[in-house]
Symmetry: C2
Subunit: 316 residues, 2 copies
């Protein structure tokens, strides 16, 4: 993995294009997607050659490209406690180095085994388009005061789910697993992605700021349509407390801390905190069920189950 990430490409010219790429890739991410890919691969095969590692690396490079551009679009100043690319350099740099990363991902992807290339490319490209569609929906939600849970889950499924689905499925594909198994890993990855995102939303309000890598309550301050907010809006409506809740959401940046505390309190009052924990477990159960239905054996299911559990029980 590290070998792939530190490959020659990043020492290219001009440095002004490649240095930001090296910076973001070196920021200490979890490398979740390539790890998921290689873990899924390992269920079926031991033969981890460069032809397998490089497509796995492509997933990370693509993912980090989306982070660079998302950080511009979301106006996020920090990532993993470090300045984002557009803050450390400037917006043009973040746009262009991001663009280069999306192309580099394809360069790495093309190093996969020749007989798998067509399927790998289709899976990856369909996924990449799905991520764009999901990000667009997330941005569109900012203009909608009310979002249904179905709409939210559809958006998260695209913005986060499909890339984890792709990562898991790609591992199986590269190992030559049959169609049923590839689909099982895809569904596992997708549902794990949902669990992961709901966990992320949960930690943004209820996590520990030091391990989380960014200040607590950011989503609340921005009225971001997180799982918590979407669920809370519905529960507030049902409990006749919508006006009260809307008033809290209308508080401005000058009342940031007050807003975060009040909305967090509302989440607890409305039972949203527990509901989130239940939803996470439900998605995880669906993920495991997909593996069992797909004909994976006990050891294989256990291996992926542990991978997913580590994700959900993380502190950041």
């Amino acid at each position: 993995m590290n070998k792939g990430l530190m490959a020659l490409d990043l020492k290219g010219e001009p440095q002004t294009l490649y240095e930001p790429i090296g910076y973001i890739l070196g920021l200490g991410g979890k490398h979740l997607r390539p790890k998921l890919c290689l873990t899924a691969f390992g269920l079926f095969s031991d033969d981890v050659t460069d032809e397998i590692v490089y497509p796995a690396v492509a997933l990370e490079v693509f993912h980090e490209f989306t982070l660079v551009h998302d950080d511009i679009m979301d106006r996020s100043d920090t990532r993993r406690n470090q300045p984002t690319v557009h803050v450390k350099w400037d917006e043009n740099t973040a746009i262009l180095s991001g663009d280069a990363m999306s192309i580099l991902a394809y360069r790495y992807l093309a190093l996969c085994p020749a007989d798998k290339r067509q399927e790998v490319f289709k899976l990856f490209t369909d996924t990449a388009m799905g991520v764009c569609e999901g990000q667009r929906k997330d941005m569109d939600f900012e203009e909608q005061p009310f979002v249904t849970m179905d709409e939210y889950l559809d958006m998260v499924g695209q913005k986060t789910g499909v890339l984890l689905a792709c990562s898991a499925a790609m591992g199986a594909l590269l190992a030559g697993a049959d169609e049923e198994k590839v689909k099982a890993l895809y569904d596992f990855g997708y549902n794990t992605g949902l669990a992961f995102q709901i966990t992320d939303d949960f930690l943004d309000t209820f996590g520990d700021p030091v391990t989380f890598g960014k200040p607590i309550g950011g989503d609340i301050a921005l009225n971001k349509k997180s799982w918590l907010l979407v669920e809370a809006l519905h529960r507030a409506k049902a409990a006749g407390r919508y006006a009260e809740f809307a008033a809290l959401l209308a508080l401005g940046e000058d009342k940031r801390q007050e807003k975060i505390e009040a909305v967090t309190g509302m989440y607890i009052d409305l039972g949203v905190k527990e509901a989130a924990e239940d939803a996470i477990l439900e998605c995880h159960a669906k993920a495991v069920e997909a593996l069992e239905k797909g004909g994976l054996d006990e050891a294989q299911v256990q291996c992926m189950k542990e991978f997913a559990e580590a994700l959900i029980h993380r502190e950041r």
Copy 2:
């Protein structure tokens, strides 16, 4: 071509992602790169199937993606006399729809004949990285008061040359032409690209605003390192008129019209206008020579020669 561009992809959801893509692709561009690809293809084969048209379309989609992002980075308000995507919608939309376009290009590219896929992908991806490197160099030049002609030509070669080179070479590649012919078409495209860009720089100062699609003198107003400016800086230095020239370049936005007129006058005085016309012809001659050296027959050379001449003699 039109069929490819109007394909189902552009009617996808969410509309907020796809509408801007349809907008920019429908803005009436010259579709130069796919036409070049198909013209080169036609030198060797008549068999124009979807497997040939779609990779040609990919070139256009990729090119227009670069325009969407370049327009953000250059802060250009208009393109082809219409508002740019980030002006018509907003910057986030331009970033994200642009990203989607770069991925769509790969979707179209993957529809090429299976036996050509590896070479086509490598050529395209190396080219795409080259375009990013060239754009970065162009942006870096803004911070450099003095740029050599070699540096300028290297930048233009990457920013513009390689994609035209790729377009021509890809046509030959798709037609199954031998390596020598593919390289000849590449070199033809590259040098035609240089001629094309110098022509573009020339028209920005000496063209007709109505047919050109944007106001005259934009490059001068921005102190953009165009071929004209780079040549003028050298000539001014040699003629002992550097300080005089630098004073003109230092004029601000409030003296925009005066600056454009004065610098244009300087270009004429220093013989830069004629030198540009010579440089364009020289690059064109190199392009044609590459075809002759590559073993193309008279009819083939003539066909490509006419294509390039139409480019250079255009008014916009």
